[in-house]
């Protein structure tokens, strides 16, 4: 069997090996004087450091360096257990229907203002104004044509286009 390393022997000394491994190490140590010597060295080193480190312990430990903190009151204990609607309710302190009504009113006002703004902007837009005029013109044209047809069918003279529509069409 190969010689054991320092790590295994340290673990062996610290009793950090499984029983199976301990038995193996025991069996090896009986046969190998080099590993036994290494174990002794490890033991010496550990004893030295541990004894020296014990010197650093304080000689007098204060019994009560600070007074124990008083227990919390029952009120304070229940406080973190509150659900969020309860916490919100206690924080707002205004009746909920009144609060909801207020919120609704504000929302309606906001929507109204927005619509008004949109209407104004639409009226002021030159492209939209031109479009609206063209639509009116086309509707009027159709209306005149249908009226002319009705008049012809009934034996009347056809209706003449008003000047304004002729001018709107351009050079006609």
């Amino acid at each position: 069997m190969k010689c054991l390393g320092k790590e295994i022997l340290t673990h062996y000394y610290d009793r950090e090996l499984t029983q199976k491994d301990i038995d193996r190490v025991d069996a090896h140590l009986k046969k190998c004087p080099a590993c036994s010597q290494m174990l002794q060295d490890i033991q010496k080193e550990i004893t030295l450091t541990d004894t020296k480190l014990l010197l650093l312990k304080p000689h007098n430990i204060p019994d009560t360096p600070f007074t124990p903190i008083p227990a919390r009151s029952a009120k304070a204990k229940t406080r973190p257990g509150k659900s969020w609607p309860e916490l919100a309710k206690s924080a707002i302190r205004v009746p909920i229907p009144a609060f909801a009504l207020l919120v609704l009113l504000v929302c309606l006002m906001a929507v109204g203002l927005f619509m008004q703004e949109r209407k104004i902007s639409r009226l002021q837009s030159p492209i939209l104004a031109a479009k609206r005029q063209t639509t009116l013109y086309l509707i009027s044209e159709n209306r005149i044509q249908s009226l002319s047809l009705d008049a012809e069918l009934e034996g009347f003279e056809p209706i003449k286009k008003p000047k304004i529509f002729v001018q709107k069409g351009g050079n006609k």
Binding site: E7, L53, L55, L56, P58, H59, N60, R72
Partner: protein, 165 residues
């Protein structure tokens, strides 16, 4: 375990651990107090702890390591060994000159080790298993043995070096 029980059971070992790590009374008092205040807050807001001892050691270790890293404890040796500090906590054992010298030697040797290695040595001295040390210092259980051996070697070397001077 209630706060009062934990305080009664573990105050002395936590105090010893922190004092061994830091080496000054004032800092030890503050750190131990911080540790128990954290325990109190934890117990009042969270579920009870599975292993209060390990938890306390973990908090104390983190506090000490952070403190040591911040303060660069090399300067603290000088503070610890000033006549004023020794006079403040004098008792019949400390008046023994040889023991004082030995303490100084060990403290100086320990100061040369990184905070984590120092913590491992202290926890080993306080009879913690490798798995407990790993849980306290938040490291792998397999690394504990290696770090511990390295720390021991370094400490033994420094003590020998200091003894030869």
């Amino acid at each position: 375990m209630t706060f009062e029980d934990a305080y009664e059971s573990y105050f002395k070992c936590i105090y010893t651990y922190v004092y061994s790590m830091v080496g000054t009374r004032d800092e030890t008092d503050d750190m131990v107090q911080d540790t128990f205040v954290k325990l109190y807050n934890h117990l009042s807001s969270h579920s009870p702890l599975e292993n209060t001892r390990t938890w306390l050691y973990r908090v104390a270790s983190n506090t000490c390591i952070n403190y040591l890293r911040r303060q660069k404890i090399f300067q603290k040796i000088l503070v610890l060994n000033t006549p004023e500090e020794q006079h403040k906590h004098r008792n019949p054992i400390e008046e023994n000159h040889i023991k004082e010298q030995e303490q100084k030697l060990v403290r100086e040797a320990l100061e040369k080790l990184p905070a984590r290695e120092r913590a491992i040595l202290m926890l080993y001295r306080d009879k913690f298993s490798y798995s407990d040390i790993a849980a306290i210092l938040n490291i792998k259980a397999t690394s504990v043995g290696k770090i511990l051996s390295r720390a021991r070697e370094k400490l033994a070397g420094e003590i020998r070096k200091g003894g030869q001077k």
